[in-house]
């Protein structure tokens, strides 16, 4: 369930005018920006953006880039984008910046969105960057992780209900063999994870658990820690139980290196209209701290950014 709170009616023209007023003059009324933008759903934001363009002949995102800065600017701009455009931008950024967890972003996009959403993202990516997502993923990666990531973004999974239990059992056995032999680069595991439908894969994961008493992810470990294996585990988690995967991203956001702001912001922004409620609940169950408290206690430096995230979580800002 979504956590986003929106008013029943809103006027895109009034919203555009309010935002313009908030940006006028030397300062910026961030509170006003949040009170509107963090309380509009995808359809409303689209109309608002168009109204702003019609009234002031300027793209709202470009305007905001001049008014706010830092993490607040980043979060706000991503939030205002349409989901397909947003995911394309996240993917592009991940590939260009090549941060240590760039592959998680690609896998999230490839595995937690529906087949049609992934298609829209790829179209948006081609429109924005004049390349296909597949070709950019391929040319920015090498070896095993390239094969996995390219397969994941190229796939157009069947989304119907038809599954084959015997195939699930045989493929669970194939994966088991791979784990036993530590033959993790075997193409079969990429084939299965990237081409089978999500429902089929869930039956496979269950079959594995029934047959071998353990989960696949537990078997996919090697030392030293391996980026490719982590990517495979991420893929399985995203397919099996996306909300728990996202809760895990949030849980891992606080570590020795500091706070993974990008991860927190990305999960909240991309799931606020989807399933952030379940993610929040799972987070609380594991941490005994609400996500709101975590944000309040750890992201206090940038008050506007904090309030923006809290607003998306359903708080009154």
């Amino acid at each position: 369930m979504a956590t986003l709170v929106v008013p029943k009616d809103s006027s895109p023209i009034e919203d555009a005018e309010t935002i313009k007023r908030a940006c006028k003059g030397l300062g910026t009324d961030e509170r006003a920006l949040i009170s509107i933008l963090a309380h509009r759903n995808e359809a409303q934001r689209k109309l608002l953006r168009q109204a702003y363009l019609d009234l002031y002949h300027q793209d709202l995102i470009q305007q905001l880039k001049c008014e706010v800065s830092g993490k607040f600017e980043r979060g706000l701009c991503y939030w205002i984008m349409e989901p397909a455009e947003r995911d394309a931008a996240y993917a592009k950024e991940a590939l260009e910046k090549a941060t240590p967890n760039y592959y998680k972003i690609i896998i999230e996009i490839g595995c937690t969105r529906t087949s049609e959403e992934l298609l829209a993202i790829k179209r948006s990516y081609q429109f924005l960057y004049k390349h296909s997502l597949e070709e950019d993923v391929a040319s920015h990666t090498f070896g095993d992780i390239r094969r996995l990531l390219v397969a994941i973004v190229s796939t157009y999974r069947y989304e119907g209900h038809v599954i084959d239990e015997s195939v699930a059992i045989s493929e669970a056995n194939i994966i088991h063999q791979i784990i036993e032999k530590k033959d993790f680069s075997n193409d079969e595991i990429i084939r299965i994870l990237s081409t089978r439908s999500k429902k089929q894969l869930c039956v496979t994961f269950n079959s594995f658990r029934n047959l071998y008493g353990s989960t696949i992810t537990k078997g996919l470990v090697a030392s030293p820690s391996d980026e490719y294996l982590d990517a495979v585990r991420t893929t399985i988690r995203c397919i099996k139980y996306p909300q728990r995967y996202f809760a895990r991203v949030l849980r891992n956001a606080k570590n020795e290196l500091g706070i993974d702001d990008d991860g927190v912001s990305r999960v909240i922004i991309t799931r606020a209209e989807e399933d952030l409620k379940e993610i929040k609940d799972l987070y609380f169950k594991r941490n005994n701290v609400t996500l709101e408290d975590f944000i309040t206690n750890n992201i206090s430096a940038d008050g506007d950014y904090k309030n923006f995230l809290l607003a998306l979580l359903g708080s009154n800002f």
Partner: protein, 315 residues
């Protein structure tokens, strides 16, 4: 017509692509038992003389082949009437089922269709078979060509004209080096070549093709030994020439049934797209027009149907 001429006409009606229905109706249909016996005795490739029991029986093998010829018109009609997405989805399904000899069809569909046409085929495949194309290709093909074929059918290429020439040039060099070392490492195992051929846009690959010729002196598809890579490059960079070659192989009397099917497949699938260009290239390459060749080799309703498809397509 004299009986001798008739005895030539009926076997003629039964050899080639399709059958000459009118000859069978008017000639075979009027023969009495003696005439039919003369026919059976005079066509040893259709009928086997049982000398011990004094009768002639159909050659089983030829009878099986004839079954395909009778149904060729029906199959072409069905293929033509289908939505292009269903058509391509069914062609892919059939190619997967038939095995290695038909993998060229997978390459053809994956590489000659536009991004949206291939996507449509993938949608139709979901609807028809409750699986995705990539899942079936991946799970039914086990050989070394699997990686490449799965990558090709999964492609959703950028279709804009914008290309980066330096990349096309450097990637042509990469492929050139891989081909040079093919004796040490087979091209099927080279991730870079697969990456380039399966993900780059067609305009990019056409530029790459030209750069390759500058480096090597020969065309890329000529230098590639692996048949699937060769076909992919031809389909991606010079599709009309590729189709001419397929048609030329198909337009022979004694070819295997997969090759024969290519005639109907190519004409049906290209009649609305680029049959005009294909015909022009065919004429240039072989010195004879496509309709002329079809007139020689095909028979009956099947022949008339194909000629009609070409004629409307080239108007």
């Amino acid at each position: 017509m004299e009986l001798n001429q008739e005895l030539e006409a009926v076997p003629q009606a039964l050899s080639g692509h399709g059958v000459e229905e009118s000859a069978l109706v008017t000639i075979l249909g009027k023969w009495d038992p003696l005439e039919r016996e003369a026919f059976r005795k005079k066509t040893p490739n259709l009928f086997i003389e049982d000398k011990e029991r004094h009768f002639q029986r159909w050659d089983d093998h030829y009878a099986r082949l004839l079954k395909h010829e009778f149904v060729r018109f029906k199959n072409t009609v069905m293929l033509w009437s289908m939505h292009p997405w269903e058509r391509d989805a069914r062609l892919v399904k059939e190619a997967i089922k038939k095995g290695k000899a038909s993998y060229g069809v997978l390459v053809e569909i994956a590489c000659t269709r536009s991004s949206e046409e291939l996507l449509g085929a993938r949608k139709a495949y979901h609807s028809l078979f409750d699986h995705s194309i990539e899942e079936d290709v991946a799970s039914h093909i086990h050989g070394i060509e699997r990686k490449f074929l799965v990558a090709l059918v999964s492609a959703y290429r950028y279709e804009g004209a914008k290309i980066k020439n330096e990349h096309a040039k450097s990637e042509a060099k990469i492929i050139f080096d891989v081909i040079k070392n093919a004796h040490k490492k087979p091209i099927n195992e080279d991730d870079e070549v697969i990456r380039i051929l399966a993900t780059r846009s067609k305009p990019h690959l056409k530029a790459l093709y030209n750069h390759y010729k500058d480096i090597s002196g020969k065309n890329l598809d000529e230098d590639l030994d692996d048949i699937r890579f060769k076909e992919a490059v031809q389909c991606l960079c010079t599709p009309q020439i590729y189709f001419c070659k397929v048609l030329d192989s198909a337009l022979k009397i004694d070819v295997d049934k997969n090759t024969k099917k290519a005639l109907g497949r190519v004409i049906v699938t290209r009649a609305d797209i680029d049959i005009k260009e294909i015909m022009a290239d065919y004429n240039n390459l072989y010195g004879v027009t496509l309709p002329h060749k079809i007139q020689d080799i095909a028979k009956g309703n099947y022949k008339d149907f194909l000629l009609n498809l070409i004629a409307r397509g080239s108007n």
